[in-house]
């Protein structure tokens, strides 16, 4: 363990704090506290699952070249806009579906389409 208090520990502590004060809030603030807890859960999953590394490797495979994620995304978007890549490009649909699954696993693993694709 590099630190006594890991980032995940901080997230859990803040989530616990939000849960504590939630009972004292009402209306919009109570709703926002709930949204904040969900947002922290996203951050915790992102730290644990490292979706950007997965997406980077998927896009690098698709583009046939390495690079950081932003550059790979921008390059692929440019190709899609220019029509040099498209739905018929080998492996493109499957790679983008896999990338979308990876992101949704972090952002909302309870989403119906995510659940539907697990079976």
């Amino acid at each position: 363990m590099a630190e006594q208090i890991e980032a995940v520990t901080l997230i859990e502590a803040v989530a616990g704090f939000l849960a504590d004060v939630q009972g004292q809030l009402s209306g919009r603030q109570a709703f926002h506290a709930k949204v904040a807890q969900n947002a922290l859960a996203i951050v915790a999953r992102e730290l644990a699952q490292a979706p950007q590394a997965t997406e980077r490797s998927l896009l690098a495979g698709l583009m046939g070249q390495d690079g950081d994620l932003d550059a790979l995304r921008a390059g692929l978007c440019a190709d899609l806009r220019a029509g040099t890549k498209g739905a018929k490009t080998d492996g493109l649909i499957d790679a983008l579906l896999a990338a979308a699954l990876t992101k949704c696993a972090v952002d909302n693993p309870r989403y119906a389409t995510f659940q539907r694709l697990q079976t």
Binding site: H32, A36, A99, A100, C104
Partner: protein, 338 residues
């Protein structure tokens, strides 16, 4: 950038009170309760009293002057269109008053408060609403068929946005690029649509936001179609596709029509009610389009936070719902509208 700068300070509205609403209505008001809203727009439940002393249940919707989003319908025109729909026999709340500048409540209108549950997550799941769920597909088909039979001339004089399908797609793409986000899934969906969209001139009055979250439902069925803010002149199939987007099924993906029905039943009932022949491929295309359009809305809400226009944890979190949209789009491009 200049336009974004001016958006940084949103105009605000005055709180509606029984006294201010009574002035608008010219009738006594016993209760005004905020149902939802933020600084720039709000919805109120209003209890007024009719001349004969009976309760007059109303809804007041108002927004800061000039706060209507680009491409949106001015509130007064929204009220007029809703009234045209009401006169045509559609299930909508009758408009009682359109706000004037002198009322001091911004832009908006007062309409009848109808019974029914607006939260789709409730009426889609509660056992009491089973008869409603059974009736809704036919009712939605009948409403859309009736709406789409109105001639476009019925809305003459209203500032309904219009455009051919290709113009609308170009506009949506320009909007996407404005956010500076690079999403391969969104770009693929735009390219996929561009290959398939036939350029059609606007041919129908389209509700533009006809989905489960915009219905008032009692256990017996549909009582009102809400939120005519995104109405425009376009392709009738847009409403059919939008109703079936996975985003509005509230997890009940097995029932593509709003989480309660099947496409076959919707299309058959729509044709039987005089809506005209349904082209299934075109409706499926509008499902992809609608899903992408919801993705643009998520980007806009996330941008509200990132740009500082409206900083809120809710806006920031909604920005992450882009992942749901991307997954729905990829599911459709891989497996079709199933």
């Amino acid at each position: 950038m200049a336009a974004e700068q001016t958006e940084l300070t949103l105009a605000t509205i005055a709180d509606a009170t029984p006294a201010t609403v009574a002035d608008v209505l010219g009738a006594p008001v016993t209760r005004v309760e905020a149902l939802s809203g933020g600084a720039s727009s709000a919805t109120y439940a209003v209890d007024a009293v009719r001349g004969d002393g009976t309760l007059w249940p109303l809804i007041l919707q108002c927004a800061a002057t000039g706060s209507v989003a680009e491409g949106g319908l001015p509130r007064a025109d929204q009220a007029r269109l809703q009234q045209i729909a009401f006169a045509a026999g559609l299930p909508v709340a009758e408009v009682v008053r359109v706000l004037a500048p002198a009322d001091g409540l911004g832009e908006g209108f007062v309409m009848a408060r109808l019974p029914g549950e607006a939260l789709a997550s409730r009426w889609l799941k509660l056992p009491d609403y089973a008869p409603a769920r059974a009736a809704l597909t036919g009712q939605c088909a009948a409403v859309l068929a009736k709406l789409h039979q109105l001639p476009m001339a019925a809305a003459a004089g209203l500032a309904l946005p219009a455009g051919s399908t290709v113009e609308l797609l170009d506009r949506m793409f320009a909007n996407y690029r404005r956010f500076g986000v690079e999403s391969p899934v969104f770009d693929l969906a735009f390219a996929w649509l561009r290959e398939r969209v036939t350029d059609r001139p606007a041919s129908h009055i389209v509700h533009g936001d006809f989905r489960s979250g915009n219905f008032l439902v009692t256990p017996a069925g549909l009582t009102a179609v809400l939120d005519w803010e995104l109405a425009h002149l376009g392709d009738s199939h847009e409403d059919l596709g939008w109703l079936c987007c996975n985003s509005w099924r509230f997890g009940v993906w097995q029932n593509p029509v709003g989480g309660f029905g099947q496409r076959d039943e919707l299309y058959a009932a729509y044709e039987a009610a005089g809506g005209g022949p349904v082209d299934r491929d075109r409706a499926a295309l509008w499902e992809v389009w609608g899903t992408l359009k919801w993705g643009m809305a998520c980007l806009q809400l996330g941008d509200d936070h990132v740009s500082g226009r409206l900083r809120s944890v809710e806006r920031a979190a909604i920005g992450r719902r882009v992942s749901e949209v991307e997954l729905d789009l990829m599911h459709m491009l891989k497996f079709g509208s199933v």
